[in-house]
Amino acid sequence: MQAWIERETASFAASELRLPALRSELDVARRYVEEAAAAFGFDADSCFELVFAVNEAVTNAIRHGAPDERGLISLSVVADVGRLTFVVRDCGTFAMPVLDTDTRSEHGRGLALMASVMDEVQLHIKPGSTVVRLSKARA
């Protein structure tokens, strides 16, 4: 079983999409996630959750982050054993969102929503670099 999983994972090619930091590019990012998640074998529900969570991370990168010198941000995907991880990178310096537990608030839900549908969300921050890793295991 282990050998089968490793062979299957090896057949899934890691890839990277570099896209302009423009809100009009969000649907491109969503299609990329949808295709990668389906190719990895996630069911429709999990595909939707991955699309939703990664869309939030890319939205944050476009909205609050900073692109590289060519105006681009990075979205990549890597497979581990039975687990897919999407990585969103921008060149901005992360600013901690104001935590607001009021459900009537208009802002500040993105990170909590990502975490609610992913198995793991990691935030790697340093000056000039924000990296969000979103992982989900296949059932």
Binding site: R23, S24, L26, D27, R30, F48, V51, F52, N55, E56, T59, I62, R63, T103, R104, S105, E106, H107, R109, G110, L113, S116, V117
Partner: protein
């Protein structure tokens, strides 16, 4: 290119009905906000937003709906009703905790009736 669209408004029983479909993301949300705020500013304070043809919403769309609902609640007799049948969009409402803030209905008729009675 995002598939978002928003329909021309119709008014039934003094309730304004807006239909927004496709994917409502950070690119589309400003259009939705602008449209809803135009009605609120014009004192049309009973709004139905029909999302029956929406296939995706994100946190910025949720923010627009929450903001509109809050403004309408502060207005005398104002109210927002949202029609939603898409299972995944309903799931986003649920995980956002918005079911307690925004009234959800499964048909436009039901939403209009609820606001007409409330008014």
């Amino acid at each position: 290119m995002s598939s978002f669209y928003i329909s021309d408004d119709t008014t039934r029983d003094d309730v304004v009905v807006l239909v927004a479909g496709g994917e409502i993301d950070y690119a589309a949300s400003p259009h939705l906000r602008e449209c809803m705020l135009a009605h609120i500013k014009a004192n049309r304070q009973r709004l139905v937003l029909d999302l029956s043809w929406a296939t995706f919403i994100d946190s910025t769309a949720i923010g627009v709906l929450t903001g509109a609902a809050t403004k309408l609640r502060k207005a005398d007799g104002g109210s927002l009703a949202v029609v939603c049948t898409h299972e995944k969009v309903l799931q986003i409402f649920a995980i956002s905790g918005l079911e307690s803030v925004i009234s959800l209905y499964s048909s436009c008729e039901e939403a209009i009736s609820a606001l007409a009675v409330a008014g």
